[in-house]
Subunit: 152 residues, 2 copies
DNA sequence: CTCATAAAGTGGCATATGCCACTAAATGGA
DNA sequence: TCCATTTAGTGGCATATGCCACTTTATGAG
């Protein structure tokens, strides 16, 4: 009960991650603002771009994101004409995604700004440090939390 | 244009951070589910708990969160009777926040689950590694991105 | 004391994300 | 061939977060 000695939330891996995400998100968003895209949208356009007309599921998987969340996030981009979807000819359950010409132009524009943000970030924390952090985060995203005990 | 050689979004510090946050968030949320709280809510209740009837601004600052976002996030917790607010007697612009008795009970319940998640996480990535990650994320949240060039 | 300005929140609007219940389409038997 | 099951998305609902325009209080000149 002596809350004077209670540890801060600095001990929670999840809370720290969210907090850092808010901070960095604000920074990248600020730099990307002139393009009219949020950092999340730039990242999503890029992910679509580097794929070969990826399916919704493939994108969601790559981004470790819920499929329905991806669908929601895609809506404003489709509305604004940056992205379009089409049913896979071979399997009509599957919906594929691609950038429109406008989307490609917008992505180029956003990438220029992204490089600025990325560079400024790495100038502050150090290229090495940044790479190490990304590697750690990559590992994190790949973890498999299932099966609590799983002994034997 | 040869997208075959385009680097994955693995290079974007921000994207990696968000991705890891989604992953870890799902894990902590899963473990906390029996309490009915999301990990963000548990973290917020805890932050309020360790403070001395903190002001909205103080909480937002500690969590590196927008003040209005905090206000929004607090609503369901107030609605569910876990948190209550009251005007500071000395400065009526200031609103202070505290847990209700119910909120304290719920926090205890959630903390038990949180420890399980935290422990399982550290068993997987290693206590050392987790601490290092948190430290890095803490530094990140403390960065000051203002003044781009700032030479001379 | 009076008013311009700063400080602290609120509300509205928009995106980010998740879960769940459903629908549509493909698949694997019987 | 026909149906139970699985796969891929959609829509609705709820929380997480931000920005911006205001409203309410304090404060600090004058």
């Amino acid at each position: 009960m002596t809350q004077a000695t209670l540890p801060g939330l600095t001990l929670c891996n999840n809370a720290m991650l969210r907090r850092a995400t808010r901070k960095l998100g604000q920074f990248y968003d600020d730099v990307l603002a002139p393009s009219g895209l949020k950092a999340t949208q730039q990242g999503l356009l890029y992910q679509i771009h580097i794929g070969d007309e990826p399916t919704m599921g493939a994108i969601a998987g790559a981004l470790v994101m819920d499929l329905s969340a991806l669908g929601h996030t895609l809506k404003p981009l489709i509305r604004d004409g940056y992205v379009e979807t089409f049913a896979d000819p071979g399997d009509r359950r599957i919906k594929r995604v691609r950038l429109t010409p406008q989307g490609l132009i917008k992505l180029d524009e956003a990438m220029k700004l992204w490089r600025v943000a990325q560079q400024r970030f790495e100038d502050m924390v150090g290229k090495e440090q940044a790479a190490k952090l990304r590697a750690a985060l990559d590992d994190l995203a790949a973890l498999d939390f299932d099966l609590p005990p799983a002994a034997t």
